[in-house]
Structures are given as structure tokens and as C-alpha cells.
């Protein structure tokens, strides 16, 4: 009887999480796109729901809610489902959507997505070999094998992200507050940007006029494309064509400069906005709203990157990748959490996850974290060194 009650509680909470995932998908991730393949939305929400349920089970474990045998059952069930999703379902659909984007392979997309999935499984399996994760007494397709591999990938990812975040966060905050951005700075930079745009425009006007006169005279402008095109352009080149290519090169350089200036302006605006909000220079809002505004502004910058790399074609693939990463992240969180839990609560995780070498995962996390932090420091140092040089060029 109590098992039924417990199960219904679990299922209700899972449905709730599913709903959250659905809403998040619609409101944030797919804000600007039309959802044409609902399977993507379902998979994302399901992964989200089961990941959250795992954490819910840990909390229930600590609080002692629900019957312990039903907890154990649900742990096993949850784990099986999540592994199935992460190893079989999501990679298969990622392959399927990638293949659907390529026009050539459109006809036999099922076949090719199966091939892609098999390749993924091969590399996934090979991944486990160099790591001392298992005692050899377990069979091939046991849960322990799958979890160990998913755990390695997830832990590596977590360590990479944590290392980068640990370095980047203070650096960004420092650069936000130490740099005193005034309106004059911003206006000066904007003026440079508009000047560059004007230069590009005048060159393009010249190109357009040249093309028009060439067209009226009957000459044809061949853009030197490919090897033979270049050879041809050496021997038979109308003076108009040559001129055009020269100006085109100048325009390309100017356009690159305009892009850099635009990005710097955007950065300055973001800094100014954050400083204003944090130091309460604009409007009197209460600390809670201010906190929310800062987070959303910061997240806004992050999301812009996501929107930038996705387009209507690749948005499905990107969301599925996100779901995959999210699932692996959650599974490895459970693995790592075990270390910080007091002994009496560790038992169930050890029971459920089987005989994994947990210490290995902790050491692995530390190593990757260190490596990631050091490389981020190096990367940021190099990037910072490049920036002042740019400012010096007129």
C-alpha cells in the first residue's frame, strides 16, 4: 500500500518537472523558432524531468521521506531510464537530425543515423578502457559499465566548466568594476564605428558604380573563384575587374575592423549597464529586483551566444546536445555528491550504483579542474594582451 502512495508521489513530481522542462523549452530556448518536431521538445522535457527526479530522491534519502524499499526501487528505475535516454535515445536523435540537415543523405536518413549511432557507441565503449573504473567481475551490458562511462564524460565536463567558471567569474567582475566606463568612452567608440561604416560605404559606392559602367560597356566581372579562375584572371583581366578586387580586399579589412569595434561597443554597454544596476545609479529599485536584473543581464549575454550559434536548421541538434550534456552533468553530480554526504546516506547510492571506484572520480575531477583553470588563466592572459594592442592601432 505504501509503495503505491510513494509511487504516485514520485510520478506527480515527475510530471511537474516535465511541465517545467516543457515551459523552459518554449519560453527560453525556442523563443524565436517554430517547433516543428515535437519529439525534440518531449525528449528535452523527459531528460529534464528524470534528472530532477534523481536529485529529489537524494533529498528524500536524507530527509527520510518515503519507504526505503520503494526509494530503492525508484532509484533503480530512474537510473535505468536515464541511462537508456542518454546512451540510446538522445545520441540516436542527434545523429538523425544532423543527417536530415545534409541534403545528400536525405533519402536514407534512418540508415545513416543508425550508422552514426553505432560509431558513437564504439567510441563510447572505447572510452572506458584506459580508465580504472571497474572490477572485472561484471558483465558487458550491466548498469555499472554504462554508468562508469557516462560518469567519466560527465565529470570531465563538470570539471572543465567549473575550472573555467572559477577563473572567468572573478576576472569578469574585476573588469566590470575596475574599468570606469564613462559615456564619453562609449560615444568615442561609437563614433569610430560609424566612421568605419562610412568608409566601407564610400568604397562600396565606388564598386557599385564601377560594376554598373562595366555592365553597360559589356564587360563581365569574373570573381576569381578556384584555381583556374585565378589563372584566367592573371592573363585576361579587364582593368575594371582588377580595381574591384583591390577595393574588395580593402572593404574586407574594414568590415573586420567594424565587427571588432561593434563587439567592443557591446562590451562597454554591458559593463556600463551592470555598473549602473549594481551601484544603483539608475532608478531606485529594491535589492531583489536589482539582483534579478543583474542575473538576467548576465544570462542575456550567455543566451545571445546560444542564439548566435543556432539557426532554424541546427536548433534541434543544439537543444538535443543541451539535453545530453544536462543529463550527463546530473548523473555525475550524483556520483560526486556521494563524497560530501555523511556515511549513513552514502549506502543507498553505493547500493544502487554498484561497485564503482568512487575515489577515482574525485581524483579525476580534481585533475581536470586544475588543468581547466590553468588553461583559462593562460587563455584570458593572452586575450587580454591582444586587446590593448588593438586600441593602439588608429
Amino acid at each position: 500500500m505504501s509503495f503505491l502512495i510513494d509511487s504516485s508521489i514520485m510520478i506527480t513530481s515527475q510530471i511537474l518537472f516535465f511541465g517545467f522542462g516543457w515551459l523552459f523549452f518554449m519560453r527560453q530556448l525556442f523563443k524565436d523558432y517554430e517547433v516543428r518536431q515535437y519529439v525534440v521538445q518531449v525528449i528535452f522535457s523527459v531528460t529534464f524531468a528524470f534528472s530532477c527526479t534523481m536529485f529529489e530522491l537524494i533529498i528524500f534519502e536524507i530527509l527520510g521521506v518515503l519507504n526505503s524499499s520503494s526509494r530503492y526501487f525508484h532509484w533503480k528505475l530512474n537510473l535505468c531510464v536515464i541511462l537508456l535516454i542518454l546512451v540510446f535515445l538522445v545520441p540516436f536523435y542527434i545523429g538523425y537530425f544532423i543527417v536530415s540537415n545534409i541534403r545528400l543523405l536525405h533519402k536514407q536518413r534512418l540508415l545513416f543515423s543508425c550508422l552514426l549511432w553505432l560509431t558513437f557507441m564504439y567510441f563510447f565503449w572505447k572510452l572506458g578502457d584506459p580508465f580504472p573504473i571497474l572490477s572485472p567481475k561484471h558483465g558487458i551490458l550491466s548498469i555499472e559499465q554504462l554508468i562508469s562511462r557516462v560518469g567519466v564524460i560527465g565529470v570531465t565536463l563538470m570539471a572543465l566548466l567549473s575550472g573555467f567558471g572559477a577563473v572567468n567569474c572573478p576576472y569578469t567582475y574585476m573588469s566590470y568594476f575596475l574599468r570606469n566606463v564613462t559615456d564619453v568612452d562609449i560615444l568615442a567608440l561609437e563614433r569610430r564605428l560609424l566612421q568605419t561604416m562610412d568608409m566601407i560605404i564610400s568604397k562600396k559606392k565606388r564598386m557599385a558604380m564601377t560594376r554598373r559602367t562595366m555592365f553597360q560597356k559589356g564587360e563581365v566581372h569574373n570573381k576569381p573563384s578556384g584555381f583556374w579562375g585565378m589563372i584566367k584572371s592573371i592573363t585576361t583581366s579587364a582593368p575594371g575587374s582588377e580595381n574591384l578586387n583591390l577595393i574588395q580586399q580593402e572593404v574586407d579589412a574594414l568590415e573586420e575592423l567594424s565587427r571588432q569595434l561593434f563587439l567592443e561597443t557591446a562590451d562597454l554597454h554591458a559593463t556600463k549597464a551592470t555598473i549602473n544596476i549594481v551601484f544603483d545609479r539608475v532608478g531606485k529599485t529594491d535589492p531583489v529586483t536589482r539582483g534579478i536584473e543583474i542575473t538576467v543581464n548576465y544570462l542575456g549575454i550567455q543566451f545571445d551566444f546560444f542564439y548566435a550559434i543556432s539557426s532554424s536548421k541546427s536548433s534541434n541538434v543544439i537543444v538535443l546536445l543541451l539535453a545530453q550534456i544536462m543529463g550527463m552533468y546530473f548523473v555525475s553530480s550524483v556520483l560526486l555528491i556521494r563524497m560530501s554526504m555523511p556515511l549513513e546516506y552514502r549506502t543507498i547510492i553505493t547500493e544502487v550504483l554498484g561497485e564503482l571506484q568512487f575515489n577515482f572520480y574525485h581524483r579525476w575531477f580534481d585533475v581536470i579542474f586544475l588543468v581547466s583553470a590553468l588553461s583559462s588563466i593562460l587563455f584570458l592572459y593572452l586575450a587580454h594582451k591582444q586587446a590593448p594592442e588593438k586600441h593602439m592601432t588608429p
Binding site: 524565436d32 554597454h269 545571445d304
Partner: protein, 236 residues
């Protein structure tokens, strides 16, 4: 070369609808071979014969400013983009016929460009609701272009075109539906080419009949450094 009199037309729309391909087609009469994501703003110039075929025919350069980005960006990104919205003489709104959201976002895009002087006050922005009055008193000519027409199946074409007709009516603008990878949609003499020509003529008329006053009524000019100091400079 008229480097002082500029006719500036903004090209707005969501990421991935095909603005860069469209601008390339309009300015160079060729299909863009390698579309890539636009950072900031990319400009191209179209040579347009005003009132072609009449005795008052005159050639103008029309600058097409293709501003990249997403309409739901943070307010700091929007203020960065706002630097391109100065003294515009026309707006081309581009949407993807296969993506309804891109059509709906056009309302927010046009509000952003036409209300550039309202500083975005915070992150919790209103939904950009459609304001009939704003479009009624708007003096800047608008044109709505729908792309990727070839990807709409024959059976759905009628429904899609009805929807876009309503959209264009809301903006009080003409509409053109085409495929940016096929130049025949804008072939000389076709109805699309005529609409395009009429739009550019209207932009030029609005621009040059107000040549004496520096402002377009209803849109106070934001003081910009370059407007004052660079009038005498040529960039060649």
C-alpha cells in the same frame, strides 16, 4: 560622387531569415554563395534610378544597412544596436515564410527601430505589443519581404500568403515574397521589381523633399558627434 547626401534604409529581421542573402541579391544582382552569421552591421550599396524612364530620371545610391541580432536580446545589446538607427529613411522588414515567429517578431523589430530614442528602461521589457497609432503616424516608408518561398509547399501557399498580406496591411506597407537564392523573382519587369522600385522611389522622395530641415518630423535627432564634425571630410 554624392558622399554627403545619403539615403539610408535599414534591413531588419530575426537571425537566419536571409537578410544578408537578400541584401546581396539587391545590390549585386547575384546570389550569395556563402551565407554566414552577421556580427554587428553589414552595409551594401544599391545604385537606383529614381523615376526610371522619365525625363526627371536621376541616379541615387541607396545604403542598405543589415543589422544582425535577436529581438529578445538584453537591453545593453539593444543600446549598442541603436547606434545604427540614426536618420533612417526607410525600413525593410524581413521574415521567414516557414517560421511564424519571425513574422510576429517584426512588430518588435519595427518598434525598436522607430522608438530608438526611448532608452530601454530595464530588462523586464513589455512584450512589444502592436500599437496601431504608432504605425499610423509613422512617416518612414516600410516594406515587408518574406523569404524562403521555395520551401513552402504548393498546398500551404495560399494560407501563408493570406497571413503575410494581413501582416503587410498592419504595417501599412507593400509586401514581396521571394526566394533569395533565385534571381528570377526580382527580374526586371516583374511585379516584385516594380514594387521594389516604387518603395525606393518613395524613400528618396521622402528624403529629398525634406532636404532643408535636417529632421524628419516626429523623430527628434539624437546629437551625434560625427554629424557635426565630419561634414567636410571625404573618404576615398
Amino acid at each position: 560622387m554624392a558622399s554627403l547626401d545619403r539615403v539610408k534604409v535599414l534591413v531588419l529581421g530575426d537571425s537566419g531569415v536571409g537578410k544578408s542573402s537578400l541584401v546581396h541579391l539587391l545590390c549585386q544582382n547575384q546570389v550569395l554563395g556563402n551565407p554566414s552569421w552577421t556580427v554587428g552591421c553589414s552595409v551594401d550599396v544599391r545604385v537606383h534610378d529614381y523615376k526610371e524612364g522619365t525625363p526627371v530620371e536621376k541616379t541615387y545610391y541607396i545604403e542598405l544597412w543589415d543589422v544582425g541580432g535577436s529581438v529578445g536580446s538584453a537591453s545593453s545589446v539593444k543600446s549598442t544596436r541603436a547606434v545604427f538607427y540614426n536618420s533612417i529613411n526607410g525600413i525593410i522588414l524581413v521574415h521567414d515564410l516557414t517560421n511564424k515567429k519571425s513574422s510576429q517578431n517584426l512588430y518588435r523589430w519595427s518598434s525598436e527601430a522607430l522608438n530608438k530614442d526611448l532608452v530601454p528602461t530595464g530588462v523586464l521589457v513589455t512584450n512589444g505589443e502592436y500599437d496601431q497609432e504608432q504605425f499610423a503616424e509613422n512617416q518612414i516608408p516600410l516594406l515587408v519581404i518574406g523569404t524562403k518561398l521555395d520551401q513552402i509547399h504548393e498546398t500551404k501557399r495560399h494560407e501563408v500568403l493570406t497571413r503575410t498580406a494581413f501582416l503587410a496591411e498592419d504595417f501599412n506597407a507593400e509586401e514581396i515574397n521571394l526566394d533569395c537564392t533565385n534571381p528570377r523573382y526580382l527580374a526586371a519587369g516583374s511585379s516584385n521589381a516594380v514594387k521594389l522600385s516604387r518603395f525606393f522611389d518613395k524613400v528618396i522622395e521622402k528624403r529629398y523633399s525634406l532636404r532643408d530641415s535636417n529632421q524628419i518630423p516626429g523623430f527628434p535627432d539624437r546629437k551625434r558627434f560625427w554629424g557635426g564634425t565630419l561634414k567636410g571630410l571625404h573618404y576615398d
